[in-house]
Structures are given as structure tokens and as C-alpha cells.
Amino acid sequence: MTSILSLIARRIFVSVAILVIVSALLFCILRRLPVDPAAMSLPPNATLAEIEAKRHEMGLDLPLFRQYLIWLGQVAYGDLGISIHFRRGVAGLITSTLPATIELAVLAMLIAGALGIAGGLFMFHVRGTAREAVADAGSIALLSLPEFLWGLFFILLFGVALELLPFTGRLSSGFERPVITGFLLLDTLLMRRLDMFWDALKHMILPSLALGLAFSPTIMRVLRSSLIDVYQEDYIHQARLRGLSERRILVHHALKNAILPTLSLMGVQFGFLFGGTLLIEVIYSYPGLGNLMVDAVRNADLPIIQAVGLAYCVVVLAINTVVDALYVVLNPKLRVT
């Protein structure tokens, strides 16, 4: 327990340092873009004098380092600035959209994990048989299709051709969205509205499946390789000599060890998957952080781009900390007494 807590404490310390570095980099890069936030904040027919006044008001005439320190000071108080396009607080925009993206990414990761582990076990099971080549080709085919293509394909198949599942928004028209935590599935359960929970889940199936499917083949292939490696270990031979069944060897001995690299990979994959929500959210009109980011890029809304970039960084760091902690729990060798 102590080792896990100290690991988390260490990770938080490192994460804060990483966040400061990332935020400084983001700040400098965005300020170096050929975009004038002052001009963007005003209507097209604003005069040069008005733009200059706005630039002064926004502190854009100060040295870059001072601008960054002012921004960092504001962030410390939870003030992420004012959106150029929406003209409202960026922090409010982030908090209203982040839960939707986290919910989508977590569900997608669960799907990717389930498919990946099931596929990995299947690929391991068929190794050395004629079916291995088919399984291998299947996983490569899955790997070669990006998530947005899966997204479009699922819309056409399940949305248009079969009319089975909705593919716009988070909830059907007629349901009033509850606002408790922002996590819709959780909120509907807290309200004991199973009908609404089911409706929200149906809206999430296609986007999360598209995301999950695109990320599952890597998990499959890593798990299969890990299992092959683990099966070379002496303790597997000894388990066989002890007369344990193949099923018991796999579940109780091999998988427990082979899952560790897979878990690390899933932690890394979550970062990519979280980034993959950008296009998927636009395609599925899903009101999350990705959709907000795409709008921000289109409108050169620098405060939002900066804040969303940081939000992505925070989420990825948090997930990696959780994965590392889980790694320690699952791997006794890493526990320091």
C-alpha cells in the first residue's frame, strides 16, 4: 500500500512538472502562430486603433515570458481565459465538455480491452494452426483502418442501412439531459432513469465501438506475443508437470504475467484513443472536448486550444498514473516493503 501511495505521490509531482513544461511549450507555440488574438476577438470591421487597444487590454504587448506568468497565475486560480469565439469563460466550456469525452473514451477503452484480450487469447489459441494466418490477417486488417473510417462505416451500416442505432448527439430528442456530474451514464443511473440510461448508451455504442475497434488489434497482438513469451518460462513447464489443466495454466499463471505489458500498452493507447475522439466526436456530433477543439482550431480560438491541450495532457497523465499503480498491484516484484 505504501509503495502505491509513494508511487502516486511521485507521479503527481512529476505530472505537475510535465504540465508546466507542456503549458509553456503550448503557450509559446500558440503565441508564435501567425494569428492575432486581438483582431480575432473583434468584429471584421474593427479599426486598427480598436485592435491595438484590444491587444493592450489582453496583455499581448507584454514580453512573452510575462504573458505566460500572468496566464499561469490565472490558471492556478482556475481561470483559463475567455474564449475568442464564444466570449465566455474557457474553464466553463472545458468542464461542460470534458465528462462527455472521458465517458466516451473509457467506454471505447473497455471495448478495445475486451476485444483485444479476447482476440489475443484467440490468436494465441490458434497459433501454429492453419487459422493463425487468418487471425493474423484479420488483426492487420483491423489495424489498418483508422477510427474515423470505422465511424463512417458504422453510421452507414447501423444508422442508415439498418436504422438500428442513433448516431447524433448523446440523447434522443424528448429526454431532458440531467446535469449532475456531467457523466451522462452515471447521471441517468443516479436519477434511476433506466430508459434514459439505455438511450444514452445506445448513442455511445457506435462512436465508442469505432474508437475501440481501431485500438483493439494492437492489444491483441501484444497479448499474443506476451503469452508466447510467458509460455517459454520454466514455471509453465513445471505447471504442466504438476498436471494442471491448460485452461488453469493459462488463466492462473500465464495470463496474469502476460497481461502486464498489455496493461502498460493500454495506458499508452488511452492517450492516443483520447486524441482519436477529435474526429469521432465531429462525425457523431458528440458534444465533447474533441468537438470543442475542432471548433477552436477553425476559429483560431487560442485560449480554448491552449486549455484543451492541457486538459488532454492532464487526462493522459492521470490515466498513466492509474495504470502504473495498477501495475504495482498486479506485479509483486515492484512492491517495496
Partner: protein, 508 residues
Amino acid sequence: MSVTIDRRTALKLGLGTAGSTFLGDLAFAQAKDAVTIGWPSDVPSWDPNQRFTPDAQPIFKLVFDQPLDQNEKLDLIPKLITKWELAADGLSMTVELRDDVTFHNGDKMTAEDFRYTFFERIKAGHKVDTANSWRKVTDIEVTSPTKAVMKFNSPAPTAPQWLAFLGSFMVPKAYMEKVGVEPFREKPVGTGPYKLVEYQLNSRIVLERNDSYWGPKPKLKRITFDIVKDPSARVAAIQSGQVDLTINVPVREVERLKREPTLAAEINPITRVILLQVRNDLGFEDANVRLAAHHAIDKAALSKAFYGGAAVPLSVVATPGTAAYLPDFKFEYSPDMAKAALAKAGFSPEKPAKIKFAATNGHFPSDYDIARAIQQMWQKVGIEAELETIEYAKYFELNRGAKLPEATLYSWDNATGDPEIFTGYLLSPKMPFSAWKGMDVGQKVLDLFEIADYNKRIEGYRALNKIAVEAGATIPLLQSVVTVVRKKTLNYAKYENGWVLASSMDWS
């Protein structure tokens, strides 16, 4: 009797039966007093004075009213204002307001709200784009609860048009002063035919009919806007029945969707002009080169290739049906005339004139493809254009700093159809919309800005439209289009400026 089952139906029957057992039937069908619209963009905020966003106007018009309105032919018509009179010198305008209008919260609308919307909140420093459109207003004198006089610091001949244009929506003074701007955006109150009942950023807007509306009651009780930004997803949404109407789908999809038995698909020309903004210096200093660039463009071919032939080729910066359009004036497409003009400037296909050419990619349908086609047309006559992509968000900044290249492909929206907001704004050397800074044409524009008499002003713009094109100060290309796909039984009013208003919809 024989039943034919195609592969798609068989797939539907098989997977659909299994799927619907698991997932339950989706209730895609709409009630007859409701409609779901797939809209390409969200509102920037629920303060309607805040940002000039043309795509948001049809949504704002449901919740808020404008002082004046336009009919389907774009004539200016009374709305909250019943009478208006612009002074002969254009320095003041007397308006008379309705006395039977209430806001959604029950407050009565008066001339004080009018003064607050167009003067007080601007002076109070609210961050609203209307501060720029109404910057000429020095005061609004309220003479009675239903009468007010707008005072301007210089002639404002298009003040009536602007009362029906971007951002000009009446907001309630008492409510906004009581709750503040931020809470107003969270819970907006207007005088419009619908009330906002649900809003989720970038996802959904749900409106319900305002049964105590002062004007004609809309037929539909509930309007849902699903914000669907991806054009392919909008096509899928209308095809699957998840929405009843959608706009701005690709032209090629319109042709395909026309064949669906339950759908109607249309390409409607609107008051938006696709043009080349040109400079009067650098590689375009010589008028012959500019005119050659214009003669070399086959606009009909562009329309056919990129808009299914629905976009009308233009010879002036005005659309058919608007006041300063010149139906008899045609600027000829002629590669030979282009070559001859270039020869006068000392250029030929062997010794081409070299210019830079900017275009957006994805700001309006096929923009970059049109630019590439123009580049090739120019190459054939002897103009070598280096094409660069610019972000739409950067356009004004570049233009303001005189950093646009010789030619820029641009799309200009003007829901009013008034020539000042077409040619006037696009060629005024003092405004940031114009790349052209030459005073030969520019002074004519500035003179027209001072004329308050409507007929005299329109005559002036009709003359200017021809002069500007013959001087090569602008290269109008096509009238833009909006695509609308809807269920066949859903009716809507077709506005010449492209507005698709849910308040005009009903089911047959």
C-alpha cells in the same frame, strides 16, 4: 404478385430483426407538430447581439425578433417596428414600435428596450458585435413608449436594412440589467415565436412554441436542432430519418438524394456571392492584367463542375433579384480577349504575368477546387498564379494589414441584398472587407455612403457595379447556393437569402 427483396432489404430484415430485438425500435418518426433539423453549426452564444454569425441567424430569429424583417423576396417589412422614416440627410431615423409585444418573461417591450439594445448596452461596454454595426449611433431619443429617434454622427442610409440584419435582435433591458449578461446567455429571453427549453453546446437546441406570441403563431410546437457539423453525417441523418430536414449537404449528394422516394432535395441560389477580391497594385497594378484574369474564367464551367450548374454566373457583385443587379450586363468569357489584354501589358503564355492567389479550403463548398480550376484557366492565357491556402479566420487580419495577395477567392454573404453591403463594403477603401484600395472606384463608393435617398443610392450602385467590373476592381464569379434536403411532406418557405426558418414549416 411477386415480392422482390434486394440485398439491402435482406440485410435489413436479417440484421435488423436481430438488432431491434436487442436494441429496441428507434422512434425516428416525428410527431406532426414537431420537427428535427440537422444544422451544420451551433450558435456562438445566446446573446444574439454578440457575434455576427450568418448561420445562426435562422435560429436566433425563432427566439428573438428583429426590429424589421424581410419577406421571401427580401423586401423590408415591419416586425417590431411598424413605421420607420430615415431623414433626408440620413442623420436620424424615426421609428414606431408595436405596443402589443411581450418578452418571454412577460415584460412588455417598449422603446426603452430598443434604446438599450442599440445604444445603451454598447455604451456600457458589452462585448457585442453590434457595437461595430451601430457605431454611428450617437443617441436614441425615446419620445414615447412606442416611439424613438435614432441619431447618427454621419449619414446611415442602410440603417433600416441593418435593423433586419446580423445581430440586430431586440433584448429586454429590465431582465438583462437584473440578471447580467452571463445569466442572460444561460437563460435567454426574447420576444420571438419560440422559447429555448434545452440547450447543449455543440449538440442540441430544443425550442418550444411561445403560445403568447404577438405575431402569427407557427404551426409546429417543438423544434429540435441537432448540431451535425460533418456533411456526410448530415446526409446519413436525413437518409436514416433521424432528422427531417438538413442543409448544406454536398451538391453531388443532392442529386443522389433526389431519387429517394421520401425525400425532396433542392439547390437554392442565395444572396451570397463568390468572387475574387483583387488588389490594385503588385502584379495586378495594370488594369489589363486584371481584366485578362476576368476574361479567362469560364464561370459556367465552374458552376457545372462544382455546383451542378445551379450557381448562376455573375458579371457584377450582386445577385439576381436584388436592387443593383444588372441583368443585361455581361462580362464576356473569352480566352482570346484575355490574351489580347495581357499582350497590351506585355505578357503572353510564353512570358506569363506572375501573381499570387489565395483561397480558403473548406470554408465554402469546393472553394479550393474552384481556385485550382481558375489557376489552370489562367495558365492557358498567360497568367501564372501561385496558389496558397489561407484560413478563413486569417482572412480579415491579412486584409486589414494589406497582406492579401493579388487575388483572393472569397465568399460574401449579404442577407439584405442591399448593394451597399455588396459592392459598397467590398470596394470601400476604408473598410477591412476590401482588398481594393484604389480611390478611382473607392471615392465613388465613399460618395454613395453619404446618399440617404434610396432610389438615388440604388441608381448610383447600379452604375458603380458596371464601372467596378470594367475597371477590374473586382471579379465576381458565381451566385452561391444552399442545399436543402427534407422529407417530402415537410414544407418550408424559400427565402432568397437562404434562410431556412422553422417558424415557416409545416407538415402536409
